[in-house]
């Protein structure tokens, strides 16, 4: 008998006490935990900023014309002259700030990425209660290595992408679920030494978030 058959057989005989007639859905799962946030869009954006900053990341809130200036400031602050940009990222934001855009196409090697100053991407979803940015492999966010190997990650999140709760985020991600998904909550960190959270291990040591308020009155 193959290992597969043997294991499935063992499972079936181990479950001899489960009635034949019982279907998986007969085991009730109560889902009365909170799915939605009571907060309105402005409060969600505020909460998102607050929780992301509690992880030690920096958040800049800007209007529709402010991304370029924010990118300029971030790069000046970190002494960065070029940023890797994934396919589908609005490059004029980068070039408009006087920064060299290094397009990841054809894909750069991991070693090239390791020498890059930083990377800038968009995001798919923001989660206010947990201060999480969700990246989905694809346009604007690129492949996973882009937001991992360089030491600086600048992420542009639109305020209308910010949801309140984890269940709301999973709902929004359902249509992307075949693509690689990464949930980022603050910069790379470890709690391995005396359970003290220390920022900056293998992922980007600096996470800079630009929150783009799309409903800001002009």
């Amino acid at each position: 008998m193959s290992a597969r058959e043997e294991i499935l057989d063992r499972v079936r005989s181990a479950l001899a006490d489960v009635p034949e007639s019982e279907a998986p859905d007969d085991v009730a799962v109560p889902r009365d935990y909170r799915r939605d946030s009571p907060l309105g869009p402005d409060q969600l954006a505020d909460l998102f900023v607050q929780v992301v900053e509690e992880y030690g990341a920096t958040v800049r809130r800007v209007g529709p014309d402010g991304v370029t200036a924010a990118l300029h400031d971030i790069c000046a602050e970190h002494g960065v002259r070029s940023l890797v940009t994934p396919p589908g990222f609005p490059e004029q934001w980068v070039t408009g700030a006087g920064i060299v855009a290094l397009r990841d196409g054809p894909p750069m090697s991991a070693r090239t990425l390791d020498r890059a100053d930083g990377v800038v991407t968009t995001a798919a979803v923001g989660i206010a209660e947990t201060g999480t940015i969700v990246l989905v492999s694809g346009a604007g966010m690129g492949r996973r290595a882009l937001t991992l190997v360089p030491d600086l990650h600048v992420c542009v999140v639109r305020s209308d992408q910010v949801v309140g709760t984890v269940p709301e985020a999973m709902d929004a991600l359902a249509r992307h679920r075949r693509a690689p998904i990464t949930l980022v909550s603050g910069g790379s960190a470890t709690s391995d030494i005396e359970l003290e959270r220390v920022e900056g291990v293998h992922g980007p040591r600096t996470l800079e978030v630009i929150l783009l308020d799309i409903d800001e009155p002009v």
Partner: protein, 498 residues
């Protein structure tokens, strides 16, 4: 290595149902605990750190007014999976295969190691980068690969510290929890090539040293081994929850990725992750969310490894599943909250349990995965005060005290006919007779208490002989009163009437 397994003809594996799980040379818990309690510095570190993480967990859990609802949802999702595990495993296999993942099945540690080694050897690589995983520790994969000329590189900071120090992990999430920053500094300074001799002992500097040390290994890696926190049956999605980004490196940069997954790790739907992604980080490191969570469903062209393998592992899990009381241990999502609150773990640390799974969850998981065949495994269900703190914090509501007492009964049954238990059996027979008959009971009290009171003296019993010593070696027995409460009460009542 002490594998109860051998390669038979034609490469087929003939094996025993359980693999290592436990460290070689483990002593029964009371013996090992006594040795660990001698380590004063370790006790100081453990007390400080477990209290710190307890407080952090309590703070982020109290933010959630629906925590109890989340726990119940988590419990029931896992219960649903376990009661229909064959269905969900077949569904997961189908979804994984359709997503382009090669699925392997391993009855036990030896078979899983054999499969992983073959998959690594095929790549020609002599080095494999590893995401921290309990299951590969359980099967002794590192030792197996090393014996065959392949270097396993642990990339989690604490796991790396333990590996460099040739130490054993003592905690599920933070394997080097028993070492303080000064000790960790010394390990890195001694074993990390090219590290600054003046390396300071602040955690940020130590983390930076690890980053530098591992970066080149990530960049050149061709093959990685991981576990998985969750596998979604519906979609074939794998999920890994981590902090440092070492996991992402291993999941993204190599060409081949091998994930060893216990068969109990399946969850039914993608949406079910919303429950566990809330329960796990708050219970584990006391954070609202851990820094990085990776989800991937098969290979994606131009992004990450194109050659994906999953090894489903039994290794005693079906044995645990067969016990309707004990099977709830398989709900465990390896958060460590039960270790962090346990008064026993806080004092002894993880090494005393002699298993890759320490603490309260280890005390019920290890004997179930391995069976009750030897005295070390039988000692584990007794490594508890039954205070119930573990049950209170468990995010999937595993009733650990209930399973502990259930396993204690099994341990006693196992030794029932042993000569060494003759005295204990006689004592319990006597107790049964005395406690079951009120005449005997009252007579015993009337005669026994004054005698015990007189013999004990002011300090009570402090050094009983023979079997009594096993109690008085670590605790005093207070001096018994001259008479029972009931006798005293009766006397008062009678006195009051006159």
């Amino acid at each position: 290595m002490a594998h109860a397994a051998a390669l038979a003809g034609g490469g087929r594996l003939v094996t025993r149902p359980t693999g290592p799980v436990r460290w070689a040379g483990a002593e029964p818990f009371p013996v090992a605990a006594a040795q660990q309690l001698e380590k004063q510095e370790q006790r100081d570190t453990l007390r400080r750190v477990t209290h710190h993480i307890r407080d952090k967990r309590a703070a982020v859990v109290s933010e959630r007014d629906d925590w109890e609802e989340l726990r119940r949802a988590g419990e029931q999702i896992k219960t649903r999976v376990l009661r229909h595990l064959d269905t969900y495993l077949e569904q997961a296999e189908k979804a994984l295969t359709e997503a382009g993942v090669t699925v392997h099945w391993a009855r036990d540690a030896e078979q899983a190691n054999y499969i992983v080694h073959r998959l690594v050897a095929e790549t020609g690589s002599e080095e494999v980068v590893k995401v921290k995983s309990m299951v590969t520790a359980e099967i002794g994969l590192n030792e197996y690969l090393a014996e065959r000329g392949i270097t396993p590189v642990e990339t989690d900071l604490a796991e790396l510290i333990v590996q460099m120090a040739d130490d054993r992990p003592s905690h599920i999430v933070v394997p080097a929890i028993h070492r303080n920053r000064r000790e960790i500094r010394d390990v890195l300074a001694e074993h990390m090539p090219g590290v600054d001799a003046d390396l300071p002992d602040d955690p940020a500097a130590l983390a930076a040293a690890a980053r530098q040390h591992l970066r080149e290994r990530f960049l050149r890696s061709r093959v990685a081994v991981s576990g998985a926190n969750f596998v979604v049956a519906e979609t074939g999605t794998l999920c890994i929850v981590e902090s440092e980004g070492n996991g992402r490196m291993c999941l993204t940069l190599p060409e081949r990725l091998i994930s060893v997954v216990g068969i109990e790790k399946v969850v039914p739907t993608f949406a079910d992750l919303e429950v566990f992604l809330q329960l796990l980080p708050r219970s584990s490191t006391g954070e609202r969310m851990n820094p990085y969570t990776s989800l991937w469903t098969g290979a994606t062209r131009g992004d990450g490894p194109q050659d994906l393998h999953v090894v489903f592992l039994d290794n005693g899990r079906t044995q645990a599943l067969a016990d309707p009381v004990g099977r709830q241990a398989l709900r465990c999502i390896r958060c460590s909250a039960c270790l962090n609150v346990c008064p026993v773990y806080e004092r002894t640390g993880g090494h005393a349990y002699g298993s890759v799974y320490p603490g309260p969850i280890g005390a019920i998981l290890t004997p179930q995965l391995r069976g009750m065949g030897d005295k070390v495994d039988r000692s584990l269900p007794f490594a508890s005060t039954l205070c119930g703190a573990c049950y209170e914090v468990c995010p999937v509501r595993i009733d650990i005290p209930r399973v502990l007492t259930h396993l204690r009964a099994q341990a006693v049954d196992h030794e029932r006919r042993r000569f060494s238990r003759v005295g204990e059996r006689a004592a319990f027979r006597l107790a049964t007779a005395g406690l079951g008959n009120d005449l005997l009971y009252n007579a015993g009290l009337r005669l026994g208490l004054p005698l015990a009171h007189a013999v004990a003296g002011e300090d009570g019993f402090t050094g009983l002989p023979l079997a009594g010593a096993r109690w008085t070696d670590s605790r005093d027995v207070v001096r018994p009163p001259r008479q029972s409460f009931r006798a005293w009460w009766k006397q008062q009542q009678d006195g009051g009437e006159t």
